[in-house]
Symmetry: C2
């Protein structure tokens, strides 16, 4: 069994309205990347377990776009964005809007770092255009959703 930590580190940048999330996984970059771009895999881990994730469309390539729903009983939450850059096993840069929050949009980067020995460090940043919006994200329970999602991704990668 691995002895390293699987804690998700979530840090609010002190100078720009950006959040940086760092997490290690016991799988190579190819496998972690695939779990981000294949919608059949994505729905098995993204977000809290209590929500069902429903794909409207998901075309994860440079210049592609996506929309999906998280369904929690009678409540539906829509999310959409476009893929600025998708570089296999290395990098995803995308936009992200939660449709319940007006025209707010974040610019997100996910970097897949190869740690060797079949392990990957994921460094994910999300930037918005005000500190108020960034700090609201931090207090709105989104951190728990991220951590729970990454635990589900551990399970998927081990299967």
């Amino acid at each position: 069994m691995p002895t390293h930590t699987r804690e998700t580190e979530i840090v609010a940048d002190p100078t720009v309205p950006l959040i940086r999330m760092t997490r290690e996984f016991d799988a190579p970059p190819e496998k972690v990347f695939r779990a981000h771009v294949d919608p059949d895999l994505l729905v098995q881990w993204l977000g809290p377990a209590k929500n069902e994730m429903v794909i409207d469309h998901f075309d994860c390539r440079t210049g592609g776009s996506y929309r999906y729903l998280h369904v929690d009983g009678d409540a539906q939450y829509g999310f959409h964005g476009s893929f600025h850059e998708v570089r296999p096993f290395e990098l995803i840069i995308q936009t992200f809007t939660f449709e319940g929050a007006g025209d707010g949009v974040s610019l997100e980067k996910v970097v897949f770092e190869d740690l060797g020995d079949g392990r990957t460090r994921l460094v994910s940043t999300a930037m918005v255009d005000s500190f108020e919006e960034r700090d609201a994200w931090l207090v709105n329970g989104m951190q728990e959703g991220v951590r729970e999602g990454y635990q589900r991704l551990d399970t998927l990668l081990a299967s």
Copy 2:
């Protein structure tokens, strides 16, 4: 002849790494918007007059993407990005990368404000993830390119 100013106001935000550009035009939002989304019109005004603009692809709709070149003699400068949201006559949100500068990417919003009397105020913001990158943009002569482009857009809109 109109008596108002056509100055382009370019402001560096003091709290986040964002630039805000404001400019008024003697044309209604429908016409100004069309000059942004129709590539045959776009190539007639975007950027400095000395450059020839060559479209690789330009699909300006929510979820679309684009790539174009500015050609200055023997030099070519590539730019690409994706369209997060395109709302006719109102709003364009897109990503933007200058291919000569690594993985740097900015998130850009253009808001078309209807001033009535066939006039439009364009409020354009561009955000990057560091003040260094934002401030480099400000000193690199991009402001002159923006101002010259908007003067060319005046001419196009009057035609």
